[in-house]
């Protein structure tokens, strides 16, 4: 079924996927490509369309236009074959408050036609164990804390062996241990070959967990690629630790680099930072970076000018900088 233009290697693939609510465009013609085996971070500020995209991918909402393929099959047409192989946490957990954690998982598992009832108890037990809820299995969900509900939501996604996990903000409300455990769990599942599609606005989390990422902004997909690609594009800087900041700034200016700031810290050493290059796109080396002086040239020039260089570093742009550059500084939710 390797039809033209479709890759069997992609766990999720969308073409011009659009979802409108009335006149508002929540998802605007996005082309996602999530490779199999990836841990794919789906980033974006509040209201940028992450959850809506997930709903469309899982057949909960119909796309206004565009196509979506999940695990190589068209959605929502092949929903019945695809969804048993997908575990999902969508916009937070949701359970029957009057049932226990284990009873909730039993209930949701019976909804899956392909889930064998013979192994149900064992699978529920295993899922609860994996999220550390064995002790609270018999407790009514009404009495669960936020983090416990979140864990139960993840357990529900793990009820059966899955080829794809779709996790919408999985660490929301979790304590630091819980967050670490979820990260470890995701890595473990990925190591076993499960593709993980995880939406988040916690950049540190994505940096620690993911191999790939995409960034949404106001319904559009503004960047997509491996984490290294995303980090590489953007601004790189040189940072010089020296007591002679004034002299260092003069040398940098001579090389055509503009010093940004010089912190006269508590120590005698100052930090001089300058933009080395602005990379665009994901090309290996962009126009600007070819004209930038090489780091070794800068050090040589500094030393030749008698600047006491006590530290020198070339800083790639952080994902956070990249994120803000892509999605804008403003705090207000777009639209």
């Amino acid at each position: 079924m390797t039809a033209e233009g479709h890759s069997a290697e992609l766990a999720i693939e969308t073409k011009g996927l659009t979802k409108r609510f009335g006149h508002q465009v929540a998802v605007n013609g996005i082309d996602l490509a999530v490779p199999r085996g990836a841990v794919f971070g789906f980033l974006g500020p509040n209201g940028s369309g992450k959850t809506t995209t997930i709903r469309v991918l899982l057949g909960l909402a119909a796309a206004t236009s565009g196509q979506a393929r999940v695990l190589g099959q068209e959605m929502p047409r092949s929903l019945r074959e695809v969804l048993p192989r997908v575990g999902a946490l969508i916009e937070g957990p949701a359970f029957y408050p009057f049932l226990s954690g284990a009873a909730n998982l039993h209930r949701l598992d019976t909804a899956d036609r392909d889930a064998p009832s013979r192994t149900r108890a064992a699978r529920v037990h295993l899922a609860l164990e994996r999220v550390g809820l064995t002790q609270a299995a018999g407790k009514k969900v009404r009495a669960y804390s936020l983090g416990m509900k979140q864990r139960l939501g993840i357990a529900n996604a793990l009820l059966a062996p899955r080829e794809l996990l779709v996790l919408d903000e999985p660490t929301n409300g979790l304590d630091p241990q819980g967050t670490r455990e979820v990260r470890a769990l995701v890595r473990l599942l990925a190591a076993e070959g499960t593709t993980v599609f995880v939406s988040s606005h916690l950049l540190a989390e994505v940096e620690q967990m993911c191999t790939h990422a995409a960034v949404m902004s106001a319904g559009r997909l503004v960047a997509q690629g491996t984490l290294d690609d995303l980090r590489r594009s953007g601004t790189s800087r040189v940072q010089i630790r020296t007591p002679d900041s004034a002299a260092a700034q003069r040398v940098l200016a001579g090389l055509g680099l503009m010093a940004e700031k010089s912190d006269q810290a508590a120590t005698a050493d100052g930090l001089v930072t300058a933009v080395l290059a602005v990379h665009t796109g994901t090309q290996e080396e962009s126009q600007e970076s070819r004209h930038a002086p090489k780091p070794e040239t800068i050090v040589a020039a500094l030393v030749a000018a008698g600047v006491r260089v006590r530290g020198f570093a070339v800083l790639g742009s952080s994902l956070e900088e990249r994120f803000v550059a892509l999605t804008g500084e403003g705090f207000d939710v777009a639209q």
Binding site: L60, Y96, L108, P161
Partner: protein, 308 residues
């Protein structure tokens, strides 16, 4: 590309999990076709959730209290019932205690029974939407049609349970508090105890069938919203509207089409011989309501965006 079953088991779980994975593929054939495909397991789980809820039991208990209250009041007052006054069949109670059950149904059919059925049917989809569990059922995947069928079946089960919750405790309390003897029917004939048990069951069946159309209406309304209180209230309001219209002679042309039209028609079952006319009319009307509102519910729910 590999057929979906031939895919390497690239998936989550400890080594133990892989065993489950193998099992799953092995049993995903006929075994599941027989049981879970039609939703018997999901229906079992649905019934467990419905009848495991305190709310359901509270409603059933309230229904059971109706005939008990009637029996106790009649017994304590010890004044012989005046024929033609009070609820129908009240005067038969002192002849045969089993008629407490029938009297209980007469008293409950205009309000209490439809109220509880509206709560269950109105909650069916909207309740899951309100809790957010609807999205998890659908991605499980429960299948939208399968879920609707299961929800409707559960609502029907509740109709049966609600009727029995009136009839059975009514009969029991009646037997305890009153003599159980031959009873005079509306046609003037007298039937023995065995036949009167049969008549009680017939009446209970009639009342259950009477509630089926309402359950379908509630199911449809339930697909329109994620606010269960709204769909429950709307279903109850529709019941009241139907009963009010049925009482207005100005719209008599409409009466045969109202789902509450035959609700009191079970008197025909207490004649000798049984007059099946209203039973048949009622059954056809209710079947029509089920067909119409099941189709509407399907039309709405099959394509609905689940955004709760």
């Amino acid at each position: 590309m590999l057929p979906s079953d031939g895919r390497p088991p690239s998936s989550g779980g400890a080594p133990g999990d892989r065993r489950v994975s193998g099992d799953r593929r092995a049993t995903a054939g006929w075994a599941t076709l027989g049981s879970n495909l039609v939703g018997s397991e999901l229906l079992g789980s649905e019934l467990k959730v419905l009848f495991g809820r305190r709310r359901t039991w509270a409603m059933l208990l309230a229904l059971a209290a109706v005939p008990v209250l009637i029996a106790v009041v009649v017994r304590v007052s010890s004044a012989p019932g005046t024929p033609g006054r009070g609820p129908a069949f009240l005067d038969r109670v002192t002849q045969n205690g089993l008629f407490v059950g029938v009297t209980g149904l007469v008293v409950s059919i205009p309000l209490f029974l439809p109220l509880t059925v509206s709560v269950v049917a109105g909650d069916s989809i909207a309740g899951e939407g309100g809790l957010g569990t609807l999205r998890y059922l659908l991605v499980a995947p429960a299948g939208r049609v399968r879920l609707l069928l299961v929800k409707f079946a559960a609502a029907l089960a509740f109709c049966v349970a609600a009727t029995l919750a009136v009839a059975v405790p009514g009969a029991i309390v009646g037997v305890v508090l009153f003599p159980v003897g031959p009873v005079t029917l509306l046609s003037g004939d007298t039937i023995d105890v065995g036949a009167s048990v049969l008549r009680l069951l017939l009446v209970a069946g009639y009342v259950t069938v009477s509630l089926v159309g309402l359950a379908a209406v509630g199911l449809f309304i339930s697909t329109l919203t994620d606010v269960p209180v709204g769909s429950m209230a709307a279903t109850i309001v529709l019941t009241v509207v139907s009963e009010v219209l049925d009482a207005l002679p100005q719209v008599s042309w409409l009466h045969p089409w109202l789902f509450s039209h035959y609700w009191f028609g079970f008197a025909d079952l207490l004649r000798q011989p049984v007059a099946w006319g209203s039973f048949g009319g009622n059954a056809w009307l209710q079947a029509g309501y089920v067909a119409l509102f099941a189709a509407l519910a399907y039309g709405r729910f099959a394509s609905k965006d689940v955004l709760s």
